[in-house]
Symmetry: C2
Subunit: 400 residues, 2 copies
């Protein structure tokens, strides 16, 4: 029997999915599980995207150009980015296999094995996975739940930068925090990137899910930082087409795009049916985003209020995406989440949350934090949070 590589053995398993067997066991017993742990929205895709699929009329499905179908690239540049004030040419955009591939590409284009990347903690756990795969070290800059996870004083970045630091990786608005960064914060980040000649890898896949009046400020619009910014974006997430797996990587830096093209050629092309859905999605009316936002704001407002009414629970008001990080009055949210799935039911229903420790790099941090998504309808959220509240009262490891 041949042995698998050390790399494959040491590759971290998805912390988010660790509790899935316990949820499955509960479901087998006939228990209904409210999934506050998942970011799988129930929102409809735009009709024009689904129509584009139904209208696929070719007799086979052949490869596209490795950079994506020209119609999609041009459409993204002219119908989408231009419209939101990001000015790019077709050569500055390559279609990827969703935001996931863009993150991985951005990291490997910016960094060699052994290099360091600064991230704001808590961060999307798969940043850890992609860093591991590329033999990079993530260095966490702490943020504070009581300050809404905003970008801390720039001094914190200065302290963390070493000669091995090659990039800052941000998510704006953020998964898991829902935090949206202000223009001022982005300019400050730009300043530090310029000063130390770092890449700013800006994951903006939740850009269209912002709930403040302040417009989203893209890293692409930081003056003078054009050669340092790599934009990580998703098309499929924007239009509730998550499974279509279409994203893009964007940069004004020619070397970055030349390198991205070489990586893109190695995997031949992005999924073509998803590309057609994405072309269709480009005609999505403004009213679609307006309705989606209004719905998320309703859900968010209900949920944040309900959570903060629970004794010992604190969560800030997220301004984007569809998650929040909440501090719970428990010893360990992983134990609590497991306990809920195994032991706690009201009318044969229970609630599942995501323990947030895996969103932190600093050992011990986030142990009493959970990520809670508001992708369910309000009636379901009501029940789910009631069960959570009662569970917190009954949990043996409560700290109140």
């Amino acid at each position: 029997m041949a042995n698998i590589s050390n790399k494959a053995q040491q590759m971290p398993a998805s912390a988010i999915r660790k509790l899935v067997p316990f949820a499955d066991a509960a479901k087998k017993e006939g228990v209904k599980v409210y999934h506050l742990n998942l970011g799988q929205p129930d929102i409809k895709s735009p009709a024009c995207a689904l129509e584009a699929i139904k209208n696929y009329s070719k007799e086979n499905i052949s490869y596209s150009h490795s950079a994506g179908l020209m119609e999609l690239r041009q459409g993204l540049v002219e119908k989408y980015y231009k419209n939101i004030g990001i000015d790019i040419t077709v050569d500055e955009l390559i279609v990827t296999v969703a935001g996931s591939e863009s993150v991985n590409l951005a990291l490997e284009i910016a960094c060699d094995p052994g290099d360091e990347v600064l991230v704001l903690e808590p961060f999307y756990t798969n940043y850890n996975t992609f860093a591991f795969m590329n033999e990079l070290t993530l260095k966490a800059i702490p943020t504070d739940i009581h300050k809404g996870f905003q970008i801390p004083d720039i001094e914190e970045f200065e302290k963390a930068i070493t000669p091995k630091t090659k990039a800052i990786l941000i998510c704006n608005p953020g998964n898991p925090t829902g935090t949206q960064y202000s223009k001022e914060s982005m300019l400050a980040l730009g300043e530090i990137a310029r000063k130390h000649d770092l890449f700013l890898l800006s994951d903006e896949v939740y850009r269209e899910f912002c709930y403040t009046d302040e417009p989203h400020f893209s890293a692409m619009n930081i003056p003078g930082l054009e050669q340092n910014v790599i934009l990580i974006d998703s098309v499929s997430k924007r239009y509730n087409l998550c499974g279509a797996r279409i994203g893009c990587i964007v940069s004004h830096n020619k070397d970055v795009m030349t390198a991205a093209m070489k990586f893109a050629q190695a995997r031949l092309c992005s999924p073509v049916l998803g590309q057609y859905a994405a072309i269709g999605a480009l005609d999505t009316p403004e009213s679609y985003f307006k309705e989606v936002k209004e719905e998320y704001i309703r859900r968010r407002d209900y949920m944040i209020d309900a959570l903060n009414k629970i004794e010992g629970v604190y969560t800030p008001l997220p301004m984007g995406a569809f998650y929040t990080i909440a501090e719970l009055p428990v010893d360990d949210t992983e134990k609590f989440a497991k306990w809920m799935l195994e032991n706690f039911r009201i009318d044969n229903e229970t609630t599942m949350v995501t323990p947030a420790a895996s969103f932190y790099k600093t050992p011990g941090k986030g142990k009493n934090h959970a990520r809670i998504a508001y992708v369910l309808e309000i009636d379901a959220l009501k029940k789910a949070i009631h069960i959570l509240e009662e569970g917190l009262k009954a949990y043996p490891g409560r700290t109140l």
Copy 2:
């Protein structure tokens, strides 16, 4: 301006695509280019696959399980693999983003950075790219065009194996050679893998494109090698759905599948629309493959005969896939291919072939070899080969 990583700088560009700008320039002049260089088949996809897409009726496109839709996994196990005599369970198969992701996964699961992988030369150039990305060394075992690129004496493998060798990577039937390996050859390969405890990574994406009476013998059926074989497979290529980007990785080795699952979770899921097309494709009637094979055999027979009739050209009869490697009477096929695109026309038409040096690891080898695909209809092949023949007579670097 931030500098991209050394890795991204050194990443090899696709050698196959290097000549594309010269083809584009010819087309701009109004010249028709016969693409004998591309493996993009013009064959129709099965109607049941295209129907499955038209019938997609959900209101959004959400993520699938990271291992793929259960209906597809079960369908592949029960409707496809069982039918061709490969006996696996659902747990032994994970749906991937086409064969490309499977190759990459197999390499990183089998090998750590610095490890060595044996390949039969000439081989699919992207093996080089994926090896580079994973910091592996490919060690080439030479094969002989005059022996139909068959697996050489097992002694050649023994000579190449070092303590760093972790795997043998084969493609059967092969791109670029079209060679199909006999059961005896596969058993001999199995023997050497077992003796040195190597993984046998078996790329069988062209399995349904075999043109001999001898049935295809899969590495999955080498007795006693169950724990060493990783099968690299494509679903989309099999059904002329290349752009759908659906493949799979298969192994009886639990550690391999556990590791594959961790990598699969990092990229969330395979393209879901492609997965539905693949589910539809599982009902493809036998007659479809029969017709496709008959068409390829007609094209192959015509092309191989026509090539071998040209003075100084030699190519063996490929038994699978839709390529052949031909020896041309020229100093350098790269120069020749470029010269054809820039200088040679008959009735304002020219022919493009792929220089084969990039399919070889040994420096200088394959310099007078070209990969020639037979994916065009016979009338087009006739014209293309006539132009190639006349071009060979006129080329200043001819060696006859």
